[in-house]
Subunit: 401 residues, 2 copies
Amino acid sequence: MFVTHLECSKCRLTYESERIMHLCTCGAPLLVCYDLDQVKNAVSKEVLGTREPTLWRYREWLPIRQDENIVSLGEPMTPVIPLRKLGPELGMPHLFMKDEGMLPTGTFKARGAAVGVSRARELGVQVLALPTNGNAGAAWAAYCQAAEVRAVVVMPADSPAINQKECTITGASLYLVNGGIGDAGKIVTRAVEEFGWYNASTLREPYRIEGKKTMGLELLEQFSWQPPDVIIYPTGGGVGIIGIYKALEELRSMEWIGEKLPRLVAVQSTGCAPIVKAWREQQKESQFWENAQTIAFGLTVPHALGDFLVLEAIHKTNGCAVAVSDQEILEAQRLLAQREGPFICPEGAATLSAAMRLAEEGWITSRERVLLLNTGAGLKYPETVQADPPVLEPDDRLPDE
Amino acid sequence: MFVTHLECSKCRLTYESERIMHLCTCGAPLLVCYDLDQVKNAVSKEVLGTREPTLWRYREWLPIRQDENIVSLGEPMTPVIPLRKLGPELGMPHLFMKDEGMLPTGTFKARGAAVGVSRARELGVQVLALPTNGNAGAAWAAYCQAAEVRAVVVMPADSPAINQKECTITGASLYLVNGGIGDAGKIVTRAVEEFGWYNASTLREPYRIEGKKTMGLELLEQFSWQPPDVIIYPTGGGVGIIGIYKALEELRSMEWIGEKLPRLVAVQSTGCAPIVKAWREQQKESQFWENAQTIAFGLTVPHALGDFLVLEAIHKTNGCAVAVSDQEILEAQRLLAQREGPFICPEGAATLSAAMRLAEEGWITSRERVLLLNTGAGLKYPETVQADPPVLEPDDRLPDE
């Protein structure tokens, strides 16, 4: 393992990494730092290319000391799919989608859980707790069960039923709250203080982001280390985009990629767009978004602890932030399924809506390589599709097509 | 492409492969034959190891002439996960599960659809139709949309809602029937005859099985070409087990594996077990199963066209056939989730039930390497889990763990 220490993402105070740490004394998230020269000596692009197609191929960039602490449900490399019809139709002939719906538990949350739970186990954690809008809870529940760590999950009462069922079948301790993810977070904070559990809330421990980072490492390898021009990411808690940015920075520092980074675009829903608002107002941090409500449930994060890191990633890469409506999201979801086949989640569909708008505005040009991140399978969002097919009797005949 | 011809699986009559073909004149399915010497010359195990981790790495074993006809939604290699806790507990220390739930559309049906639709497009098909219990319909709908082939899907009215929604969002023509998959099949047969559509029903075209075959090729590569001792497969229409057996035969013929094949086990539900019944009665074909009913919806196939091929595969590999109850299936599904993490489909869980019974009976010994095939994600079967978590108010406290 090449981890050297932990560093505050805001005040840059450093901490040692071999004991359980949460936030900096200043209240900001801690980031994991590596000796990247040693990483560079330990692995080459060629060697990487011969490894198993899972996120653990990026072993040298990950914060696990002993292999035996790795908890894996078999995370495959998720495909980068060229949108061969839709791209040209929308003025983006080089449009791609990385489909994270093929990970365990059906979403990108598996990356954070795989690395986060592995490290928690390595640090001796026996009980962890987290608030969630649903998908992260389901992923952490599954990995905790594999790791024999007790998981306590708290989610809003109106979170998707499938996520509640995923937590239930694994045997995690699941609670609902009449409120939003912020209320769930407060319940977790109180319990963690009272019982001494490990707080696995978004960015309150430093290792989930390292799992999400593998999205960036993986997509760069899939693009043969030639970064696309634009990466569009749906942004709730923001760990995905922060993780991708961290991957880009580490690879640039190692000179595995050049100086020019992709422009990172954060997409939110008009029903909950604190980061877009802050971006437009040129603020470095966001404000709490009142009455947050969107069909893209994973984006219902009224105030993200890492808001300033998302804004920094956008700013430093000359990116931007875009809010799209639920109506646009559902249209984009259907458009993608009908033109290209995949049934994606609304959060992922939001990136297509954003790309369409940015191409129309000329912010994306037709020469650019544009990558959408679909963060999960549409299978987890059955309520986004209404089906009302005709019902036949066994002797009935079909009409011609 | 190394396809030489098509051959009847029963009477061995041969047909040319470059025009649209369905069943043999004798009524049995046709199988695709290859010049395996040429395949052997064209690819080595070493070269294979360097290819992209998708089913298209087995290009030489697939019946697509032109690369541009390939329709892909980015099928990743699905992981083989060692069941490190459950295996030893159940007296099978070398117990593995290949998790097909990570394919597009969340089930192994994506393999058959990827290859079947690609070949249909190559042969000039514009409209295809198929009956389905749900998952195959969803997969073929998605791949057809990508291929610009019209899909007409007919499924039982009580098939899972998610599959209906998947067909709907892609824009396939979906019909329900008040009846079972056999009734859906009859409606499709009539329409195919009337309108000249391509019949994509199970084993009525020769190419779906070639996609399923990649399950076998892939698992053999993942086992470093040392076949496991036992492979346990949930059997509805039977294409999966037939495909795996075909892969084994082709690899043995190429001398990529030795003479000894894994014992293949077909698992059905006690609510629909025609193949198990035929196996016990030492019949070569099965009889229609009246009042078929099981929570493992994909196993609700009262009479499979390829029953004799399944029975032959079991017989020739010294395998067996096992029926397990819905109660056992649901218990195995929960056991797997609670001990190992993954939330699998009931069809997949049936293989664990079967393994437990076969180990108890001594048919599987503790030295043997045993592979379970989980054919899909539990996410597609929300009705198999009841969740009733406590609901808190924002000021409530959690109990200790």
